[in-house]
Symmetry: C2
Subunit: 334 residues, 2 copies
């Protein structure tokens, strides 16, 4: 297995990307292909003891920045680490590609350089959503601000395949994010989507309200990209503010500080559950090749986990699973 | 001042509604008018020491249930506590009306029995949103699943008046809920709303992402009712799950239990901040009269606070303030 990595992508590149690749090789089989400025990457690699037979370095001379316009950057920066990596994925030179770079560019690049799975109208970002009982997945986490009914139905199908193949949840429960339990709730888009989801070969359990999403009562949360992005970031924001508020109360006086110290051990597991670096990356589902988007502020641990999940995606043939769910003949896909 | 209360509305009516009215009279001037089944209400009132000169009882023979279809219920149940109260508000017999009943019916009743402020296309639910630094307001919290640009602009204006008059925030910062900071982010509805809000006489500070909403960086959060409802309920859901998770970790072992005990005092203030009963109710802004929706599961404290905020709304002339902001001549309103 060969996993490609955009070494230049993310706020902490290339130090944390290279470190993440080295750490990933320690826990996985196969090799890695690093796309980036070879001068910089070689210098970083020297810091680690690593079997150089398992790392291939492809020199690229350009970098897509966060402020670049996605489509323009993909078209014009043909020697960018992201573009070269995506082209390699298309050609089958690598089995999956991981990048923490510009999300819009990665999506546009996925569409233009790799292409969609036939039968999918719009690819989506599938994000792991930590809940109190485990993990759910959220599709779409922000790729498509505006959606049609068809898109939401496809998100449900793709999310269901992801939950089954990658998280190992059999017959995953699919819920439609909405503002009430009744099927007449929400906008016309959501009412019609609800009615279509009932007829799909899915374990559709109905609408899921904001209040219930964090409980883990469904395995796949389906939403348009606008709503999904708000759900994902708001959950993160509320958790951050609550933890901050808790710390403030603990530090208020001596008795609080002692109480906080005594709780430190117990709160470790709790903190781990909220830590996005444990989950690492979000695949772009619907692309005809496995692309994993890592968080822009990823550290080496987040990269290691993104690469790990990409490897699981290859092993479990995530892309093939989506193709099958949509009953598309693989030969028609190219 | 006379505040009307739908004694039959809410999961805990009439016990908690009557108790809330009694408690409210202890902290406010003026009188209350209770709409409901006089047999039941009189029995409840006997439980308390209360100055009966300050309570007026209007007997009603019907009740709108949560499962009733809103428009149908308002039209057909003409002697329902909610309908009779709304008609009294229209006639000026009371200065404000509080109800924990069927939200859709209260909205429909507000529109049909009381009417809109001229210049307002769609009334909205304005909910207090607790943040780590104080309180923001969220408009629309769920009245209008589908919105036009005009609606969002009016929500911003009305929310701004509420924050200024009721929460005492001068020149409140208005933010548009969105999936990125740039003005080109979001759906066409949000992009166009952003561009119009820049030209309004408002302290518009731009888009506010899900991650930043709970920080209190804006005073007024503007969203369509679908998004707003998800924001409100998801925030509640994340807080509930985190507190639950925290309790589980604390109870795991003896050292955790001791730590938890030591922290108990400090966490009181923290808990209070998350407690919706402190805020009590959400006004339906844009109706030509002050209607406050209390939470369906309100206890007496929540009713007391809803009544208290209704009284502040009357004192501060919230409805007049909105009229003024929209530069509508009050004589044209009837």
């Amino acid at each position: 297995m060969k996993i490609g990595l955009d070494v230049m992508g993310g706020d902490n590149a290339p130090m944390e990307t290279v470190k993440g690749a080295v750490e990933a090789l320690e826990i996985m089989e196969g090799t890695m292909v690093l796309y980036g400025d070879s001068n910089v990457v070689e210098k970083e690699l020297l810091k680690y003891k690593v079997d150089l037979n398992r790392i291939e370095l492809v020199h690229t001379s350009e970098v897509i920045m966060n402020e670049d316009k996605p489509v323009k950057a993909i078209k014009e920066k043909s020697d960018a680490s992201m573009v070269v990596g995506l082209k390699a994925l298309r050609k089958g030179e690598i089995d999956a590609f991981v990048s923490a770079g510009n999300t819009g560019a990665l999506l546009a690049g996925g569409l233009f350089k790799v292409g969609r799975i036939k039968g999918i109208d719009r690819p989506a970002i599938c994000s792991v959503y930590p809940t109190m009982v485990g993990t759910s997945v959220l599709v779409d986490a922000g790729a498509n601000a505006e959606c049609k009914v068809r898109n939401l139905v496809e998100f449900a199908q793709m999310g269901s395949v992801y939950a089954e193949k990658i998280l190992g949840i059999s017959n995953p429960k699919v819920g439609l994010a909405n503002i009430g339990a009744e099927e007449t709730k929400g906008t016309p888009l959501y009412i019609e989507t609800h009615s279509q989801l009932k007829n799909e070969a899915l374990n559709f359990v109905g609408n899921v309200e904001g209040r219930d999403i964090p409980s883990g009562c469904v395995d796949v949360i389906v939403a348009d990209g606008f709503t999904g992005n708000i759900i994902l970031k708001l959950t993160e924001g509320v958790a951050i503010q609550l933890v901050k508020g808790l710390k403030t109360e603990i530090m208020k006086n001596t008795i609080g500080k002692i109480g906080g110290l005594l709780l430190k051990g117990n709160l470790g597991a709790f903190k781990k559950r909220l830590d996005y670096t444990e989950y690492g990356g979000a695949p772009l589902l619907g692309i005809n090749g496995l692309i994993v988007k890592a968080h822009g502020s990823s550290n080496s641990k987040a990269f290691k986990n993104a690469i790990k999940y990409a490897a699981i995606g290859v092993e479990q043939d995530l892309v093939g699973g989506i193709r099958e769910k949509l009953q598309v003949n693989p030969e028609e896909d190219v």
